[in-house]
Symmetry: C2
Subunit: 239 residues, 2 copies
Amino acid sequence: MNPTAAILVIGDEILSGRTRDSNMHFLAQELARVGIDLQEARVVADRHAVIVAAVQALSGQYDHVFTSGGIGPTHDDITADAVADAMGVPLDVRDDARAILQAHYDRMGVEMNDARLRMARIPEGATLIDNPVSSAPGFSVRNVHVMAGVPRIFEAMVAGLLPRLTGGTPLLSQSYRIQRGEGEIAGPLADLAATYPDLAMGSYPFQQNGAYGANIVIRGTDGARVNEAMTRLATLFPE
Amino acid sequence: MNPTAAILVIGDEILSGRTRDSNMHFLAQELARVGIDLQEARVVADRHAVIVAAVQALSGQYDHVFTSGGIGPTHDDITADAVADAMGVPLDVRDDARAILQAHYDRMGVEMNDARLRMARIPEGATLIDNPVSSAPGFSVRNVHVMAGVPRIFEAMVAGLLPRLTGGTPLLSQSYRIQRGEGEIAGPLADLAATYPDLAMGSYPFQQNGAYGANIVIRGTDGARVNEAMTRLATLFPE
């Protein structure tokens, strides 16, 4: 059994429609590659109680929770506080995080101040997640991995974090395009899916130049089984 | 108080990273326009028990739940069954839905079959949601609005559905670009945000040509208040 995971995207700007999230899709692809089974995604607002409740629910239910957003220096960056509360650990400025930030500000020639120092507040017992873009670290507290919302930083943090986590068998996926409407292929497809309960078969309809079709995607961790099912699918619906 | 809402995106293809969801972002923008307050988004897999649990949790918590995906004719389309179970109502083929489909298939010159007829299964007491693209209707059962996952169809269904719902005061939003790092502006910004507890102020950092900056977004339903806060922000941080 592969480890399971959820992503929690924290940010009013996603829910208000201002920003289109991209971290969920990026993480979904990366987790499939390393064999961690992403089972749920949530987006919640920048509200302390809401973040605490979501972190508690998801961290109890899945092997890993990845969060995105809310770890900067401004008043709306409340993720570290909420995660610390959710996990029942104190939060304070930590020397190693402060040193990382100080070195960064020294290089940039700017002063440390209270706002910037907020980014060195790390829940007790957490492991830092490296931020090669703008220095301010993320952190893992038990099974909750807290990362920045800015896509370039989120992606760099994921790249540093994933090798630390124990993955499973990568999810393999093959797809097959059928130029017939879903209503026509649904019966035989359901029978085939029932024959391979260890695989997931999804049908994704499209319409092109007025004609209906569907992309059938077969997913599983056993490549031989995926191949076998795909061969039978192609036999059922020759091109 | 504006009505509250959640969106529930149903689909393995989003969680596996194959497809990047766009319905969440589209709906977020539409709801902001009509004054319905999107407070949460979830993505779950094509699994009956998981969908039932999510529909029950969200429909109990918010005024409206909008679902996306899983209402086609294939074996992986299990949303109607799950929503009916979640809401405790029976599900069966309904004459008006069947007539809509039959007329569509007659126009296309294809036969009705068991798979296609699945799309006429509507929970008892539901109101149909028009599908001007491919006919198979969505439906509203109490406060749960069930729509297709294909973006073009989802968007058309939302356009038909929203005028039926009672909106609130549209969420207004203004943004202001500041060419200084978040760490520098965080203090005065937090003071300003505390002066306007009725508004949401978000800071979204960016980096351009090596220089740090932030877009400050002020959101609220009272345009005069948003204007006033924005004027004070511009005075604090002149261009």
